[in-house]
């Protein structure tokens, strides 16, 4: 879907004038439009990678803050140029940091917050607030305001149905002006906070932007794994509605595994799983752990112990080994291996493959292998399964970008954490060895 521009050119107004300006906008120019009674979307949108790539001349501006194919292509190239391992995903925050060490002083127009992905705008956010920190930490705050509306062919009506507010400046300026946010968010409508960045970033900004009951959207593929899982678990425990894009990207894996066991004739095998193996790209295990935790939770396994598998000399990143106890007391062995890949997916820690071995009492063992459609999973296909019934499936890659994932969440509209995620997240954190 094409991104849309706001209805009018964004109006730059002094920070203190933002709320009065919006009041005038709705009471004056947009009089007669009731506006959408939907939700507020507050986005932390640093786009560090895009900013650094523009600064170093690797891509042209303007900076938009949306997923861009040219930024991803240039980022893949920059991984090797920066001396990072080939398995480094383009969205890995370490790439933006590495680019930040390189010289460059190019500038481009910054349009963050002024493009609205139509997949999002079709849900008619009443207010879209974008916080756009600049890599120039000392830059003063600029605030811009505009009305926007979904295109008629996307289901929108002719009336303006929302407004967009952009707060742009250095981190310091944004922190000093956080008091502007609460009046803009209001209390009448639900508010979603999309932390569209690494969870390694300063804790205080996340705390300030996403108090309960605002609904939080994070991406646990971005940031140090333990920190990612801790943030998610803490927030879920505190009763916040937490949504994780990394968890959402597991959808096709969970669906594919469920499909294998949809035929009732295979169901009983689920009670006799003896081994689970998951391979993930690079060195970020969170997605694989969430997948394992979901399976364990759904099948009623109890975690007995987990430990780190050291890297093999000369290659690989090592992994995690764990032991679960099934409901009948039998043991399930689990291994998550982080494997090097030549062309990693966009986000760190994408799943390469999954193997589940079941040993039902009255029939041959069943080996389920799910393999990412973009690569092989020979490691999982090898090793003594000749006598087993084999169910092997390719898992399709989702073709959705960040904004479309986000739109899917907004469409869902849940005001509580998905119970499956709420159950899987703490278990995934337990699986991660100290």
């Amino acid at each position: 879907m094409a991104a849309q521009l706001t209805l009018q050119a964004p109006q730059e107004v002094p920070p203190s004038e933002v709320s009065p300006y919006l009041d005038r906008l709705w009471q004056g120019a947009l009089e007669g439009s009731t506006g959408a009674a939907t939700f507020t979307l507050l986005v932390w949108e640093p786009s560090w990678l895009e900013q650094q790539m523009v600064r170093t001349g690797l891509v042209e501006g303007p900076i938009r803050g949306l997923d861009r194919d040219d930024v991803m292509a240039a980022a893949r190239q920059a991984v090797s140029d920066c001396g990072l391992p080939f398995s480094t995903a383009p969205c890995d925050p370490r790439l933006a940091w590495a680019l930040g060490q390189r010289p460059g002083d190019r500038h481009a127009v910054d349009l963050r917050g002024q493009f609205v992905e139509s997949a999002i705008s079709v849900h008619r956010p009443r207010r879209l607030i974008t916080l756009a920190p600049t890599i120039d930490a000392g830059r003063p705050l600029e605030t811009m305001v505009a009305a926007y509306c979904p295109l008629p062919e996307e289901g929108g009506a002719g009336d303006a149905c929302g407004d967009a507010v952009v707060l742009r400046g250095g981190i310091g300026a944004l922190q000093q002006n956080l008091h502007l946010i609460q009046p803009l968010v209001g209390t009448e409508l639900p508010c979603w906070v999309w932390w569209n960045s690494s969870l390694d970033e300063p804790h205080d900004m996340l705390e300030a932007l996403a108090p309960i009951p605002r609904r939080l959207v994070i991406d646990t593929s971005l940031g140090e794994p333990r920190r990612c899982l801790e943030v998610m678990v803490e927030r879920i425990r505190a009763g916040q509605a937490v949504n994780d894009l990394n968890w959402l990207r597991l959808r096709s894996w969970r669906e594919s595994l469920a499909m294998v066991f949809d035929p009732p004739s295979r169901r009983d095998a689920l009670a006799h799983v003896v081994q689970l193996d998951i391979d993930v790209e690079g060195d970020h295990p969170v997605k694989g752990l969430l997948l394992a935790a979901w399976i364990a939770d759904r099948l009623g396994w109890h975690l007995v112990a987990s430990s780190a598998i050291p890297p093999e000399p000369g290659g690989g990143y090592g992994g995690i080994a764990a032991e679960f106890e099934r409901g009948d007391g039998a043991c399930v062995r689990f291994r998550l291996m982080t494997v090097p890949v030549g062309v990693p997916k966009q986000h760190p820690g994408a799943i390469v493959g999954l193997r589940l071995i079941c040993e039902p009492l009255s029939r041959p063992a069943l080996c389920v292998i799910l393999c990412s459609e973009s690569g092989g999973c020979m490691r999982l296909e090898s090793g003594g399964m000749a006598s087993m019934e084999l169910a092997e499936e390719l898992v399709p890659l989702p073709e959705e970008n960040e904004e479309m994932e986000m739109a899917r969440l907004l469409a869902g509209g849940h005001d509580s954490t998905n119970p499956l995620l709420a159950a899987a997240a703490p278990l995934a954190a337990e699986l991660l060895p100290d």
């Binding site: 009732p264 169901r267 869902g412 509209g413 849940h414």
Partner: protein, 507 residues
């Protein structure tokens, strides 16, 4: 579908939209549909986490019930479900309210509007309202007028109205009702329900056709010789005699359910999957459909009425002996007919529709029979090769089946027909939602894809107008022919196909 052991990995995987905060107002809340279908469907949506916390149900009827009495009556109807999910009911029932309302009394509507504002404040439902007219059909028009007069339909973004079937009694009354309804609300606010469209397998007709490349190229007059659509029931009129006497099988089943299945089976591919694109194509194909002989409709249609039958140990009464039925009734309990669709895709392909009560099996299906192979190269076990058939089973044993010829084992080259079958139970093993769950959710989400638009309804009535006029003006030309209960209808229905050298599929 049969409920089997749940796949634990399947639980919670469906990513479905949560309904926006709103209040659903059910008129006819003391009626059968409310406690048998509507409130159970809403409770199911609640259990599936598809209702937001800002949600309320306001039951309205003339009886002077209180909120508590409404809740306890609904609880009694849902006793089995509540026993399994007592906590969920506790939460859900807090959003159940009741207001005594007579839609014909304007002061009642004023009181209703006030009550809705109070509920908006207490439940934060933000003025979003779905009005469900589960009342007698003669009150659809006046009900809409009353809602409009009270200003309850004035915001097209926040209010919508769901109207149960039947929508009119014939083409003229449907047109009149459409005019009344459209004077009260925009078409986008009006949801005309046909619960058959809520069935998973009816929707699967669209997916089978348009998500696969193997069917659509042969889905036309070049490859298909005829189409049969059957909706058979084993039950008799039961306790619906009052309604059924004035409707009969043609109005009760064919004009709505079977015609919707016909439209989904015969429509052109929509450009995209949205409500208007799909409903445009359905309306177009219904506008191109006609009775095989509009001048002499008795030549392409058979009406029947079940007589006594069953076995000596379990005798079944005939229709005229059923409680509440006129002993000299000429209402049809069975109807079969032949249609054509005058467009490039279907010119010359007969569509045979049949529906009846007290037939031997409860079954709904679509059978597409393909043309014979142009040359018979092989001996066939049955004398001649059996034509290929694609059977879409709507209920029960939901699924699909393809019949084709294979080489029979052994020396020689004899062919014999075999089946390749897909069954929802074998492949998914999960019970699907009751149709009202899907349809109520769609209405509250503002998605009218599975609801019928005004032009569709009118086209469906216009299609049967020659038949309805004949029954009205010269019923002796199309008399109801008796058939024994638990048989496949009158012999004349078989003759209808025999004239074309065909037979009804015996499911």
């Amino acid at each position: 579908m049969t409920s089997l052991l749940t796949n634990p990995l399947r639980v919670g995987l469906r990513q479905e939209r949560v309904i926006t905060p709103q209040c659903i107002v059910i008129f006819g809340a003391s009626g059968d549909l409310t406690h048998r279908k509507l409130v159970p469907a809403l409770f199911e949506l609640f259990r599936q986490r598809r209702l937001p916390s800002e949600f309320a149900v306001l039951g309205c009827a003339r009886r002077p019930w209180s909120d508590e009495e409404f809740r306890s009556r609904m609880a009694a109807s849902l006793a089995a479900e509540i026993a399994d999910h007592p906590g969920a009911w506790e939460q859900f029932s807090q959003g159940l309210y009741y207001e005594p309302v007579d839609l014909q009394q304007s002061d009642h509507l004023v009181r209703l509007a006030g009550r809705l504002e109070v509920i908006d404040r207490h439940r934060a439902t933000r003025g979003n309202r779905t009005f469900y007219l589960s009342v007698a059909p003669e009150f659809y028009g006046s009900g809409c007028r009353a809602l409009a007069a009270a200003g309850l339909l004035s915001d097209p973004e926040r209010s919508r109205v769901v109207i149960e079937k039947p929508f009119g009694r014939d083409y003229g009354s449907a047109q009149t009702l459409n005019k009344v309804v459209q004077a009260c609300a925009k078409e986008s606010q009006v949801y005309r329900i046909d619960h058959y469209l809520g069935k998973e397998t009816v929707q699967n007709i669209l997916v089978m056709r348009f998500a696969n490349t193997i069917f659509e190229p042969i889905w036309n007059r070049n490859y298909i010789s005829n189409v049969q659509i059957t909706a058979a029931e084993t039950v008799g009129v039961e306790d619906r005699a009052g309604y059924y006497e004035s409707s009969g099988a043609l109005r009760d089943m064919v004009q709505n359910h079977l015609t919707q299945i016909l439209a989904l089976t015969a429509m052109e591919p929509p450009g995209r999957f949205d409500a208007e694109a799909i409903r445009n194509e359905k309306a177009k194909v219904l506008q191109a459909a006609r009775l095989a002989d509009e001048q002499e409709p008795w030549r392409c249609c058979v009406r029947g009425q079940y007589g006594p039958g069953g076995s000596a140990s379990r005798p079944l009464p005939g229709y005229r002996e059923e409680p509440g039925v006129n002993p000299t009734s000429t209402t049809e309990t069975y109807v079969a007919m032949k249609l054509f669709i005058d467009n490039w895709r279907w010119q010359g392909v007969p569509f045979y529709l049949r529906s009846g009560k007290r037939l031997p099996k409860r079954i709904s299906e679509v059978v597409l029979t393909f043309r014979e192979a142009p040359v018979h190269l092989f001996d066939a076990a049955g004398g001649a090769p059996t034509p290929n058939q694609l059977i879409l089973r709507i209920q029960p044993d939901e699924g699909a089946e393809i019949k084709f010829e294979v080489k029979a084992p052994g020396s020689g080259m004899r062919s014999r027909p075999v089946d390749m079958a897909f069954s929802y139970d074998d492949s998914f093993g999960e019970p699907s939602d009751e149709g009202y769950v899907r349809l109520l959710a769609d209405a509250m989400l503002g998605d009218p894809t599975l609801y019928t638009r005004s032009d569709e309804v009118e086209a469906a009535w216009r299609l049967y107008t020659p038949l309805l006029e004949l029954i009205e003006e010269a019923p002796w030309q199309l008399p109801v022919q008796p058939y024994e209960a638990r048989t496949w209808g009158p012999a004349a229905a078989d003759n209808l196909l025999a004239e074309d050298g065909l037979i009804w599929r015996r499911p």
